[in-house]
Symmetry: D2
Subunit: 256 residues, 4 copies
């Protein structure tokens, strides 16, 4: 009778299964970056999440199907995405597969320059352009929603020094929730932690993480990512993306 959309419970108490995706080119091609992230950006992120008790796997661009096979996604509650220079190298079919899975309920966390990734722009419905400067400067992330689960355990702010600058105007859709706003030494601000919903999936954009800085070893950053994974994990059983559906009337239609 009640078959329009599944609402079965599939999560209570379970540990979210996180898949960390990374281009993994900078680290292999540029020794200075490889020295910062010897196990890749994905490796550093995965370590941090494991420390926070999450179940974590990784995948990278140069694996078959970028490591994002149907099987891999089918066992993923939350997908974390780091991309920068190789957005165009991601196959459209894989982007569509990920998009379908997000609409079906998988959580999605886009990091830093992934604001320009195909998958993120498609999910946002906008180009998410931003002002930027890669001079290395102090970023101070202010918590504007201290009560939000993603901010749990943080102080009123934390700093990353140095980081790349991203500034407003940041042409994202209106976020459902604004969690962080960043102050930059060079004079800019940016909405640096934002949530969105698309289909049945929860999405979090988190700004920091330029490849030349050890951001993903920072304790506050790791805490944010762990919190975000728990927040983004689906509360429904992920089966398929919603479809247009013809429905019979529940009440009697006609002259009355």
């Amino acid at each position: 009778m009640v078959t329009r959309m599944s609402g079965e419970i599939d999560k209570t108490g379970a540990i979210p299964r996180v898949l960390v995706w990374n281009e993994y080119r900078h680290e292999r091609e540029e020794p200075a970056i490889g020295a910062i992230y010897p196990h890749g950006i994905h490796g550093a992120i995965a370590d941090g999440l494991r420390h926070h008790g999450l179940a974590v796997r990784t995948a990278t661009l140069d694996e078959p199907e970028h490591g994002l096979t149907e099987e891999a996604l089918a066992s993923t509650d939350v997908l974390i995405w780091w991309g920068h220079m190789q957005h165009q190298a991601v196959a459209d079919a894989v982007v569509e597969r990920v998009r379908q899975r997000v609409l079906a309920g998988m959580g999605f966390i886009a990091l830093h320059s992934s604001q320009d990734a195909k998958i993120f722009k498609q999910l946002m419905g906008a180009d998410c352009t931003v002002q930027w400067r890669d001079d290395g400067e102090k970023e101070r992330l202010w918590v504007v929603a201290p009560e939000h689960p993603i901010a749990q355990g943080l102080g009123p702010y934390f700093e990353l020094n140095p980081e790349e600058m991203y500034g407003e105007p940041f042409s994202i859709p209106t976020p459902d929730e604004l969690i962080f706003v960043s102050w930059f030494q060079g004079g800019e601000v940016v909405r640096s932690g934002c949530t969105f919903k698309r289909g049945l999936g929860r999405i979090f954009y988190f700004r920091p993480g330029h490849e030349t800085f050890p951001t993903y070893f920072d304790d506050n950053v790791r805490r944010v990512l762990a919190n975000a994974c728990r927040w983004a994990a689906p509360t429904i059983k992920v089966t398929g993306a919603p479809k247009n559906q013809n429905q019979k009337a529940i009440e009697r239609i006609g002259a009355n």
Copy 2:
């Protein structure tokens, strides 16, 4: 150094402590209502929440300080409020005590005619007026945010028959999140499940629950209330409401 607002963790895995508050006059003064709710509306709500594993106490209008002493609130994570005819009988000092606790992070769930309660209107900053009709008719609550934790375990809709009608325009502030929209047999709709944030506290308004109908014995209603308690429970340590605070500069101020 980082002392502007507390962000300490106080909840991970803990069972929310819920306090159910009720006027408890209808049930004692009107036999027909007493027959539906022999242990009071608060009793029925409390039973449902205990069935879902929550830690529950109750309080009523005619207790000293309406049962809402400093001590009672200090051990409460989420306060549920049911009021109807005696809104003016609630002491202003108690309203202010509850308000301070919500701003400090306590969850708050306002039920049905509590849209007209002092505490709810003060927290909303609006009079939250609504169209109504107490003829008894079918209400069908549609889930418009199936992925939201408050909708966890529900189908696409559920019905209550009969219920009182509440209709738009419902002059609440824009909800942060819209979870339910109700269809009424008499021709109206209303936003029937809405979330808000005030200070550090999470607030949920849930429409159903007229005193002459056994709404709080309904399995779906009980599930919604249990979900809402878990959603509204604070993720921060509740110490005090935020204050205006003078702050020293973090960066050097001056000509540059």
Copy 3:
């Protein structure tokens, strides 16, 4: 100095230039529909808008470039879109042209089954699926934001009888503003008037308008569309969509 995004005034007091786009196949291929809309759905919409004082042109699918040339868009403040069965027949290059113009500030109004149009889904970042039933039944649109410019001049509700049913769950992103919620005789509700922003463009989705019913001759519908055109018209000079831009520091960067 201040060149990151144009904010020049281009509109004060000017009459919005509206372009009404329609598939225009149903009306030519199905006599019963042609009898309802002898000048096409676009013709009926355009008449209504002209009556309200707007500057209106039309374009249809079977014109060269679907009538949506660079020149046509360059002189358009607000584009209204009606599509149903031929979504796939719209060329991707034209969709991208329209999308760029919306991101650059052109208003966009999507009608009825255009929730499934390429351009609307791309702008939303979701598939915007809906429940539907084409039995012909009463729809009552309730105004939930009476103070909004799009609701100006309306009563608390208006009716269309008969109309097609669209019901929740309607898998759109969280609207920036919710203006209308519809009640259907068959038992459903749907968020039937919603606003969104993408890039610099304002977007309005309005549900009614099945091709077999004379909806676009209805006075209330025409008023809503005229109001929406005025609301969606750009307040900035539309030059181009925002781009990622490298920026020099405003303040001095360095150890301090």
Copy 4:
């Protein structure tokens, strides 16, 4: 038939009638401030608005009924409020009169330290506490919603130097729209331009304007205030605040 809430048009093309309210104590009691604002803060604001073509009157705390009589409010489309040290001196009856008028549709613009005014806190439903520092430092206001009418005619940012600092956490309810975010030299950020709706009234909070700085002579600040008045002016006929109302059924109720 359709009498639940008035939606009559009362504004098309009309010039908004603005009432600028000010404590007007600092300027008379402190010579240094009087030298900056010889005609009061209200005088400087009024001059700026008149330059932008609005119809402006002023009122101050020490006038009978604070200059906010029923008659004064009855001819006011938008009320601008500047208060700082005398929040408690504003009579509760006047606060309630203003509140009723906002709920009925009058626009309301709260400036700077008016985040702590009785009327603003009552309308917000929160204490709107903020971090502050009055050392005099550079504020840079970034436009995060360039397409919004309140930002019309501005560049990507503008500066005020010096100004008082206000910083996050700023415990306001979630804004309906976020227009400005400020960067401060001392290291903070704050949401400095925010819109809200209460009842039928539109509300704008705008941060700048400490009494010791000539902020209200700044061209960008004046433009923002003029834009905000046009945005906040009611689109409905302002008659009274919404009431709870008993309604007859539109459709037949009963077994079906």
